[in-house]
């Protein structure tokens, strides 16, 4: 695989920084399975098998087919990783009263990126960074409607690498729901390397949903770094109806008493998909809670990976951490690999994890068939039931509707093993 990475920048300072990061990246290269964090996902191999070349040339953006969601919402539109426009009219308030949004700049990015400088994907992101946004939600503001991030990929993106990032700061007592809606209508293979930095101040609350509209044939790596202060609350929901390659890392630091971090995921993987969810939840203060529930439905030779870690510091007494990962393997070519990890240094804690994988339970299937339900329908019901525990966590009916709609489209499974 040929790497054609060119660096340009307006200021000397940031140019130097980019160069330094690029040379670090070049030394390390793309991560491969010899690295513990990439044990089940050999990115180097995946990329070299699918790309003859990777470049970061600027391409002309093609206007996307606008795909508005039907319910009332605010919106931020990204095209090929760059901030295109935003619209917060639904809130019916002067913008400056409740939020600030900027095109991303490298200086702001650096404040956050510094901590992750050992991650070569971060090095690459800093070196080739080309856009994104910075969103600051002001104190005490509670959003009436969700914010939808329309994340479009359009035009010919052959062999393109897109490095972008987003930063979201939730000030004290603020509350928001963000839905990242990925719409990939591009032509040609691309690789998106994106970093997200999310900060929640005291009593803030954020629900972050990731939904991809339709199956994508492209390659995505996302790293989210989330830090929570006292009494704050962060929930992340990952729903995907399949992508060729995806790795979603969430690094959640519970750095204030009574803070709570949750990760839920329902993935439906199709032909030769490879998707990984990796979490690292760090309990650094007492009385914090974390909850993870990961459900993967795997079909047609797809590969699902879950690496989840719960770390409990010695001062983080009264921690309550739970983690569940389940894989439903629908045919014999699919694969589910997990590494649920606990690292615990405090004794007055309740930490547990569970992990299962297997096919559709034959007895459940028999039960339904005995009641006159056709096999296809019965399987659909079981798959829905499997994802239920994750779906029921969603309080917002509009979002549940989108998801159910997606799943109905995607559950086309025919029992091939019989």
């Amino acid at each position: 695989m040929e790497l054609n990475f060119k660096i340009k920048d307006k200021s000397d300072k940031s140019l130097k920084l980019r160069e330094a990061n690029l040379s670090t990246f070049k030394k390390k290269g793309f991560p491969n399975k010899r690295e513990e964090d990439w044990k089940f996902t050999d990115l180097e191999k995946v990329l070299s098998e699918n790309f003859k070349e990777l470049h970061n040339n600027q391409l002309d953006n093609k206007k996307p087919n606008v795909q508005d969601l039907k319910f009332s919402h605010n919106s931020i539109t990204l095209i090929n990783g760059k901030l295109e426009s935003f619209d917060f009219k639904s809130e019916n308030l002067q913008y400056e009263n409740f939020f600030k949004i900027n095109e991303f700049n490298l200086d702001q990015h650096l404040n956050f990126a510094n901590e992750l400088k050992d991650n070569q994907m971060q090095n690459l992101n800093t070196a080739l960074h080309e856009g994104g946004f910075y969103l600051n939600i002001k104190s005490d503001y509670k959003f009436k409607y969700p914010i939808v991030i329309y994340n479009y990929f359009t035009g010919v993106l052959k062999n393109k690498i897109i490095n972008n990032s987003e930063t979201i700061t939730m000030s004290k007592n603020s509350d928001a729901t963000i839905i990242e809606y990925l719409i990939d209508e591009s032509e040609g293979n691309f690789f998106n390397n994106t970093f997200k930095y999310i900060n929640l101040e005291e009593n803030a609350s954020l629900n972050y949903y990731f939904i991809n509209k339709k199956e994508s044939n492209n390659f995505f790596y996302e790293f989210s770094k989330v830090e929570l202060l006292k009494n704050s609350n962060f929930k992340k929901y990952l729903f995907s109806s399949g992508m060729k390659f995806g790795k979603f890392e969430s690094n959640i630091k519970l750095n204030g008493m009574n803070s709570c971090g949750e990760v839920y995921s329902g993935l439906f993987l199709g032909i030769n998909n490879h998707q990984e969810i990796k979490t690292n939840i760090q309990h650094l203060k007492p009385n914090c809670q974390s909850h993870q529930d990961i459900k993967n439905v795997l079909a047609s030779g797809s590969k699902g990976v879950f690496q989840g870690k719960v770390f409990v510091d010695s001062i983080a007494q009264k921690t309550n951490a739970y983690q569940l990962s389940k894989g439903l393997l629908l045919d014999k070519d699919s694969e589910f690999n997990t590494k649920p990890e606990l690292e615990i240094y405090a004794d007055d804690v309740k930490c547990s994890h569970g992990s299962t994988s297997g096919n559709i339970d034959k007895e459940s299937l028999f039960y339904l068939k005995a009641r006159g339900i056709k096999e296809k329908e019965a399987i659909k019901m079981i798959i829905k039931g499997f994802l239920e525990s994750v779906l029921e966590k969603i309080k917002d009916k509009d979002i549940t509707d989108i998801l159910l709609n997606h799943f109905n489209k995607h559950i086309k499974y025919e029992n091939r093993s019989n």
Partner: protein, 478 residues
Amino acid sequence: MSTKVIDSNKEYKYGFTTDIESFKAPKGLNEETIKFISREKKEPKWLLDWRLKAYKRLKSLKEPNWQKPKYPKIDYQDLYYYSAPKSAKEKPKSLDEVDPKLIETYKKLGIPLDEQKRLSGVAVDAVFDSVSVATTFKGELTKKGIIFCSISEAIQKHPELVRKYLGSVIPITDHYFATLNSAVFTDGSFVYIPPNVRCPMELSTYFRINASQTGQFERTLIIADKGSYVSYLEGCTAPMRDENQLHAANVELVALDDAEIKYSTVQNWYPGDEQGKGGIYNFVTKRGACKGKNSKISWTQVETGSAITWKYPSCILQGDNSVGEFYSIAITNNYQKADTGTKMIHLGKNTKSKIISKGISAGKADNTYRGLVDINRKAINSRNYTQCDSLLMGNKCGAHTVPYIKNKNSSSIIEHEATTSKINEEQLFYCNQRGLNQEEAVSLIVNGFCKEVLQQLPMEFAVEAQKLVSISLEGSVG
């Protein structure tokens, strides 16, 4: 081993630092040492070549460093790789010279004074005693065609068996410590159970290891031929007073069609003192291959000793319908560290495995369960169940669970669960209320916590193991 550790260990006054050069191969790891070992043991040429091949490979290997417990760099050139049984001179002359804490432990274990002497190496004839233990039954074993002897003896008397199976489960191309063992192993035991024979008694290495004192690199090979059964015990119940040292043994098990091997270990090597000085680095490779159909290998371990325990007794389930089991208790106190678990590799159809692991961490110790369950594409209808529970006592210790779970086939089912918690206060209160003091109550609850594993041990062992569990945690409460 770093000089720091050696220096600090001198404080133990075990009397082991005496000059006994004449009984040892010269220090250092090189071809000469390996040839020396081979010559001393009058080994055939194929074995020497095998060792040298392993050594050649070793030179290109690096020590693994992914484990949780880190240790000071080991100077492999500063170790002795061969030492013949030491003469009485180097041993403590009377019980008075033995650390009183050891004696106390023996008393608590209920080992009679005679045995105490033997275990502390005071009586020279301990060696002979233990040999006679084996020979007492030798007649009975031979009648059934069972071979139970040291591996050196087996190399002389049964070379065809050794040659066929040695390295068949742990090849010389394995990881660093296993390969090191292949190059320099000195002794160990060998068991062969002929077809359709059920070994009438439990075979044990309890005394032999204690007596030999040189077994830093033992090699054990157990072969259960078609339809046979054997239960093998490995006891290191007496704290070894060996120098602060590397213990890198290899244990290979081979189970052919319908055979069953049950391997139980109670490991209580010297764990170092309360300050974490000294102790054994127990870096052992144990692996069993269920080569035949319907075969079964079951590992049970109670790990209470060693400064660092780093081992993963594993099962390769090659034969269809084969079964692998792993039951483990790992207790760490003071500055002890353990990184242990198992690997269950499912290759055959309808293979089953079960893992029950109980980790208890107290003081400033670190306890890690690390395990792999790998169900291959062809291992259809396979099944695994894993349960890992950890108990923490105090907030200066750590408990970690790192399972790797791979399922490559939809007809197989894997279940894994793990919990971490402290001792339930209500249970403690209940016991206290009924007149048990804190320590007794904790010991009772911990024994209950470990029950599923203790039940797997043969009776004599189970009693000892229970006591050991209580002793290991002494002083960690309140």
